[in-house]
């Protein structure tokens, strides 16, 4: 019988049970990231399941701040794109969030308001 307490605190929100993101899929993505990546320890996908959760939470919060500034109740792709553009450490995503249909022609967002 699984003992609650030790492991349940490991998953966010004190919820016991599996991780929020599938470990096998994470491992697959890691291996595809480069030819160099041949072996991945058992812990690495576990670390990423937490890191990705934090990443998604942070980007979602920043995007929502933009949506609220635009007086919207629905989070849209453009809000995520604006949040990416306003955050230095998310520079690696700039190309991903802009496409030929929507070149970086987004309503400017004050950078100061998004810096935590």
């Amino acid at each position: 019988m699984r003992q609650a307490g030790i492991y349940s605190g490991v998953v966010s929100g004190g919820r016991s049970g599996p991780h929020l993101l599938p470990l096998a899929r994470i491992k697959k993505i890691m291996k595809k990231s480069g030819d160099d990546v041949k072996m991945v320890s058992g812990e690495a996908p576990i670390v990423f399941s937490k890191a990705c959760e934090l990443f998604i939470e942070e980007l979602t919060q920043r995007s929502w701040t933009v949506a609220m500034q635009r007086k919207k109740k629905t989070l849209h792709k453009e809000d995520v794109a604006s949040a990416v553009l306003a955050t230095d450490i998310l520079d690696f995503l700039v190309n991903l969030v802009s496409d030929s249909n929507n070149p970086l022609d987004l309503a400017p967002v004050e950078r100061e308001t998004l810096v935590s």
Binding site: L21, M39, L75, H76, K77, V80
Partner: protein
């Protein structure tokens, strides 16, 4: 988006669930926003892994481990994650140790 593409990214249902958790109850999320988040978080894994893998390569190590990921996160500017993860990793290792001890204890017992 075809199946192959979906298979090479984090599942959109899981991503959507995490997004929903952090937003107010009344907030709505467009499908495109979820897709974008799915792509961004997948790219996040690739980006951080590449950095970690580079370090391993330079140090002549074959296996990318949890500590390498933590190091890469810090190097790339995600230091606030690194701290939370060091704690998470510690708890995970404790849990694994506990599980291993439980299994040992269970297997040495005579069950009716």
């Amino acid at each position: 988006m075809d199946d192959d593409q979906q298979e090479s990214m984090l599942p959109i249902a899981n991503v959507g669930r995490i997004m929903k958790q952090i937003l107010p109850q009344t907030a709505k999320i467009s499908k495109e926003a979820k897709q974008t988040m799915q792509e961004c978080s997948t790219e996040f894994i690739s980006f951080v892994t590449a950095e970690a893998s580079d370090k391993c390569h330079k140090e002549n190590r074959k296996t990318v481990n949890g500590d390498d990921i933590c190091w890469a996160l810090s190097t790339l500017g995600f230091d606030n994650y690194a701290e939370a993860i060091v704690r998470y990793l510690y708890k995970y290792r404790e849990a694994e140790r506990h599980k291993a001890n439980q299994n040992k204890a269970n297997s040495s017992q005579d069950k009716p």
